[in-house]
Every structure is written in structure tokens, then in C-alpha cells.
């Protein structure tokens, strides 16, 4: 293994896999996003992607993600606090396993499950009507922004719980005891130690949840069949339709925008995680 090429032999297969099946698609996206239908260089795709109906789509996606992440952080954290300090070992294990399971629920099956429960003819809708609550009496429908939000929470909240449990366990019991022996009130301790220690971790998780929601496609596609114009849905419909001649190019530009947003979120996440890891050592 002394030759130059031999030195990297084991890494070549994965290099090829990544370059061909990730690299080429990425290059294609960049290329087409900067081209018009005829192949000439242009920036109009980006201009279109960031205005009008497409801008609405981006904002909608961002809103859905910001909101689902926020609700998940609050609910998940409360839930995790209640469970993590419980003395019942079994409870913690059960919740942890259940959270792991539900965090991986998504896509088409999840959408159908909700349609069968809270859809117009869903079982829960029917049962609620029998007890006098007409969920569809007003304006609300499952196939709306808020409906989608509820479905997203089904996998977002468990993900938050899953990440929060070890986070809360990382709060050493010695800190509270030391704070008490030093004569501090719970409030001061919370303010001076707990919040500063948890804040970067919670923020990092928020970003994780944000990107999780932002990149999601299958659930929205199966639930709303394109009526809620999230960015992934718009991209898919642009590709599928033959009406717009530069549809594919706009779709690519939208894709680049998506990647940019996810990349920013992920890089903040990584720097936060690094900071937290330092403290933990």
C-alpha cells in the first residue's frame, strides 16, 4: 500500500458514489438554475423563484417550519422535563422508545392515517360529530395549513422529546445541590445556570426541527395533493407540468434556495453543537 493511489483505495468506491450520484445532480441543479429554457445564462430563474407565487411558497414553507418547530420545542421540552426526572425507570424507557418510533413516522402512511381520522369522512370526525362537536362546522379542514401543521407535529414533537431526554439528563444534579448549599434561590439558579446551559442546545434542536420540517415533502404531497403550495410541492409540480417551458429551471432555482436555507440552518446548528460539546467534556 505504498503507492500514491493505493493509499486511498478504500475510499475510492464511496468517492465515486458521491461524485456521480450526488455531485452530478448538484451540478445539474446549479447549471439549470442559471439557464433559461434555451440554455443561455440567466438569473431570471432566481428572480422568479423569489417573487410572486414562488416567494409565497417559500414563505409558507418557512412559516410552517418555524411554527411546527416552535410548538414542538415548547411541548416536547415540557413533556421531557416531566418524564426525565421521574423516578419510574420504566416510564422513561417507554417514552424514549415511543418517541423514537413516532419520530420516524411520516410520508404517505402518516398522511393517510390522518385522513382516515380527521379527514372529512374520518373516523374521529364522525365520532366527534356524534358527541356534538363538528370539526368541519366552521372553516377548518384537515387539508389546510393548520391541518398540515397538526400532522407535522406528529413526528416533530417526538423528535424534540427524543433529543431533550439526554439533554435534561445532562443537567448534573450536583449543580442544583451546589447552588442550594451556596444559598441561592431556585429562581436565581434557573436564570444563571439552567437557562444558559440549555439555551444553545434548545436552539440547536430548534434548527434541527426547522430543517426537518422544511425539507419534508411526502407528507404534504399525500395529504393535500398539491393544494398547499409548499416549496417542495411547487418544485414537484413544476417538474411534472409541461405548461411552463422554463418550469424545470425555476424548479432548480427554487431547489437552490431550499438548499441555501437548509445550509444556513445546519451550519448554525453545527457551530452550536460544537460549543455544547466543549462544555460537556
Amino acid at each position: 500500500m505504498m503507492q500514491r493511489t493505493g493509499r486511498y483505495l478504500g475510499l475510492m468506491p464511496i468517492g465515486v458514489l458521491l461524485i456521480v450520484f450526488l455531485g452530478l445532480p448538484i451540478i445539474a441543479i446549479l447549471r439549470f438554475s442559471l439557464q433559461d429554457a434555451k440554455g443561455g445564462f440567466t438569473l431570471t430563474n432566481f428572480r422568479t423563484a423569489m417573487t410572486g407565487v414562488y416567494l409565497d411558497g417559500i414563505l409558507l414553507s418557512i412559516n410552517l417550519s418555524l411554527l411546527s418547530a416552535l410548538i414542538s420545542v415548547v411541548v416536547g421540552l415540557l413533556f421531557a422535563f416531566g418524564v426525565a426526572r421521574s423516578r419510574i425507570k420504566l416510564l422513561k424507557n417507554l417514552v424514549s422508545t415511543a418517541a423514537g418510533v413516532f419520530a420516524n413516522t411520516g410520508g404517505v402512511p402518516l398522511a393517510f392515517m390522518f385522513i382516515a381520522s380527521l379527514g372529512t369522512y374520518g373516523m374521529l370526525t364522525v365520532w366527534l360529530r356524534q358527541v356534538g362537536i363538528d370539526v368541519y362546522g366552521g372553516d377548518w379542514t384537515l387539508y389546510s395549513f393548520s391541518g398540515l401543521l397538526i400532522v407535522y407535529l406528529y413526528f416533530q414533537v417526538p423528535l424534540m422529546i427524543l433529543v431533550s431526554l439526554p439533554m435534561i439528563e445532562g443537567i448534573k444534579v450536583e449543580w442544583r445541590e451546589a447552588s442550594q448549599t451556596l444559598g441561592s434561590s431556585s429562581g436565581y439558579f434557573l436564570r444563571r445556570v439552567i437557562v444558559p446551559v440549555l439555551a444553545p442546545q434548545v436552539l440547536a434542536t430548534y434548527l434541527l426541527l426547522f430543517t426537518n420540517s422544511f425539507a419534508a415533502y411526502a407528507t404534504a404531497a399525500a395529504l393535500t395533493s398539491g393544494s398547499i403550495a409548499l416549496v417542495p410541492v411547487q418544485i414537484a409540480s413544476l417538474i411534472a407540468s409541461n405548461v411552463q417551458v422554463d418550469g424545470a429551471n425555476i424548479a432548480m432555482a427554487l431547489g437552490v434556495c431550499m438548499v441555501a436555507i437548509v445550509a444556513i440552518a445546519m451550519s448554525i446548528y453545527i457551530s452550536l453543537e460544537r460549543k455544547v460539546a466543549k462544555w460537556r467534556s
Partner: protein, 355 residues
């Protein structure tokens, strides 16, 4: 009354009695160490005093006041934990200031107290560092200063050195003792390491199974242990089986020894616990003898394995061979195969009965 007092303190964990009838009086300015194996109740007693766990029975007093109803934060104590107790998001100085800032003390006072302690301990150069940037020893020193800044009435240390390297341990325990003496603060130290306990304490309380076996100065514990357990805990001790001749005397080696003051019920056999320095061993010309079978040099002491040659009158029933630890000075000229005789100085021996 003593400055710190435990009166008949009891603690039950589930069905397990962790502390039984625990009584302890500590004088102002004393450094007392609670010493014992894990599970003996020493940490439990400390944490009850701190208020971190409630007792199941008995009372605890600090400076004349019964403190059981007081929450930890109001007991005005300082505590150093085994590890992980520094707040990770605050640097060393901020950690030290925590107690006073939590009590809304004024900045000038805080600055004065912290800086004087920083100077005494030589930690000034590390004050801006965060816990993860400090070594284990430095962290514990910071934790010590943090506990002392608030000028507590009592200082509690829960195995503060157990997680540190051997060399660092010695440095820091000496610093603890130095600071404690200088500030004159009443201190309770908990450890399972007898060397630690002996080197820094005014008095040591040896504990086992939730009970305080003996409380005395290190010297007294070494010279006059009350229990076999205590004797075994400190330094090396020889355990020589003996036989009862009369209810008040035993057959030890060649002689009959009067043991009116021994502990326990006079039935069965007795065990003589004798320190190496109380044994004289020399080559025997005649009389009762034993043969040297093996010699292990251990530094200040030497283990000599001997085989009793002719048992004393009336079957003493000594084992085939026993190892006797003597001071190396005594064993200097011995060789394997020599025939030797013993002389015991029983003034500092402990005789206990075994049923």
C-alpha cells in the same frame, strides 16, 4: 453544646437502614473526617447535615440551633462535591462569586472576599478560565474557594479528592487543611481513604454499616483501636489466633496473657491484633521456635512467613504457617530457614473474642 451535633440521627432508604443511632459532636474549628467503606453511611450523614436529604429520625444542630426544618439554602454551609459541581457556563471567578451574588451582596464585598481567597490559594491566574479548561485538581480548588467565599459556618467535603490523581490528591488535601486552619472553619470531611483521613484530621470517626464505631484522634485510633474493624482500617495489623485458657487469659505464643479488658464475650477463641512495631523477632537459640519459610520485603515493613515448630503445651492449634508483618529493621538479618522466636509488646494490642 458542640458547634455541630448529630443526636440519634437515623436514615432509612426503603427497607434499608443507612444510619442507625448516629451521634456526633464537633467542636468549633475542628476538622473531623468520617471514614469508612462505601455504604457505611458517611455521605448520608453529611448530606443530612447539608439538608440535601431529610433524616428519618433524630435531630441535627448547628451553633445551637436545630436545623432540620431549614432548607439547605438557609443553613449557611459550604459544600464541595466529588465532581461535576462547577457551573459549566460560568468561568472560575463567576463560579466563586455565585453564592454572594445569589444573596445580592454588594459588589465591593464580593470583590474583596473573592480576591483575598484567590490570593491565598494562588488561583488568580485561572480566574477567567471555564471549568472545561481546568484540570481536575484546579476544578476542585475552585469549588473549595466557591464554598468558602460565603463564609459559611461549616464546611462539608464529600470525597472531594476521590476522582483525582494520587499526586494531586496529596497537594489538595494539604491545601484544604491549610485553609481550614487559617480560616478556623469547622469542617467535616468524608472519605474512604485512611491515609487522607489520618494526615489532615483533628479527629476521625470510623463508620461501618450506618454506625459510628470509634471517634478519636488519628494517633489514638492507630494505637488504641476499639474494634478489629478499626484496627484493620489503619495501617497494617497482624491477626494472631489465640486460645482461651481462663475466661480472663489467653495463650498467645509462649505465654499466658491476662486480658481482663478485652472487648466482646469471653467464649470461643480470641484474636490478637498487633501492630508490626510491637513485635520483636530474632533468631532463637533455644526454646519455642518457628522456622522462617519465606520473606517478602515491603519497604518499611517485611512479611515473614513462619512455620511453628513445636506447638506449645496443650494444643494451641496454630495454623500450619502464618505470615507475620514486622518492621523491616527487625527482619534485616533473617534468612529463609532460620529458626526464630517472638516477643510481643501487648500494651498496644487489641484482643477481641470471636465466637
Amino acid at each position: 453544646m458542640a458547634f455541630v451535633a448529630f443526636k440519634q440521627v437515623e436514615k432509612k432508604f426503603g427497607g434499608n437502614l443507612a444510619l442507625k443511632g448516629f451521634n456526633l459532636d464537633i467542636e468549633t474549628g475542628e476538622l473531623i473526617t468520617l471514614l469508612g467503606p462505601s455504604g457505611c453511611g458517611k455521605t448520608t450523614a453529611l448530606r443530612i447535615l447539608a439538608g440535601l436529604i431529610p433524616q428519618s429520625g433524630g435531630t441535627v444542630h448547628i451553633d445551637g440551633t436545630e436545623v432540620s426544618k431549614l432548607p439547605t439554602a438557609q443553613r449557611n454551609i459550604g459544600m464541595v462535591f466529588q465532581s461535576y459541581s462547577l457551573f459549566p457556563n460560568l468561568n472560575a471567578r463567576a463560579n466563586m462569586e455565585f453564592g454572594l451574588r445569589a444573596r445580592k451582596a454588594n459588589s465591593a464585598l464580593i470583590k474583596e472576599r473573592v480576591e483575598s481567597l484567590l490570593e491565598i490559594t494562588g488561583l488568580a491566574e485561572h480566574q477567567s478560565k471555564y471549568p472545561h479548561q481546568l484540570s481536575g485538581g484546579q476544578q476542585q480548588r475552585v469549588a473549595l474557594v466557591r464554598a468558602l467565599v460565603t463564609q459559611p459556618r461549616v464546611l462539608l467535603l464529600d470525597e472531594p479528592l476521590s476522582a483525582l490523581d494520587a499526586q494531586v490528591r496529596v497537594q489538595i488535601r494539604e491545601e484544604v487543611r491549610r485553609l481550614q486552619r487559617e480560616l478556623g472553619i469547622t469542617t467535616i470531611f468524608v472519605t474512604h481513604d485512611q491515609e487522607e483521613a489520618m494526615s489532615i484530621s483533628d479527629r476521625v470517626g470510623v463508620m461501618r454499616d450506618g454506625k459510628l464505631l470509634q471517634l478519636a484522634s488519628p494517633q489514638h485510633l492507630y494505637d488504641k483501636p476499639d474494634h478489629a474493624f478499626v484496627a484493620r482500617f489503619f495501617g497494617t495489623v497482624n491477626e494472631i489466633p489465640t486460645r482461651l485458657v481462663t475466661p480472663t487469659s489467653i495463650q498467645l505464643w509462649r505465654s499466658e496473657v491476662d486480658i481482663a479488658g478485652a472487648s466482646g464475650e469471653p467464649v470461643g477463641s480470641a484474636l490478637a491484633l498487633i501492630r508490626p512495631e510491637s513485635i520483636r523477632i530474632a533468631k532463637a537459640a533455644h526454646g519455642e521456635k518457628a522456622k522462617v519459610v519465606a520473606i517478602s520485603f515491603l519497604g518499611p515493613i517485611t512479611s515473614v512467613e513462619i512455620c511453628p515448630l513445636s506447638p506449645a503445651a496443650a494444643d494451641v492449634k496454630l495454623p500450619e504457617s502464618i505470615k507475620v508483618v514486622v518492621s523491616s529493621q527487625q527482619a534485616m538479618d533473617l534468612r529463609v530457614g532460620d529458626e526464630v522466636d517472638f516477643d510481643f509488646d501487648l500494651k498496644s494490642a487489641l484482643i477481641t473474642y470471636q465466637s
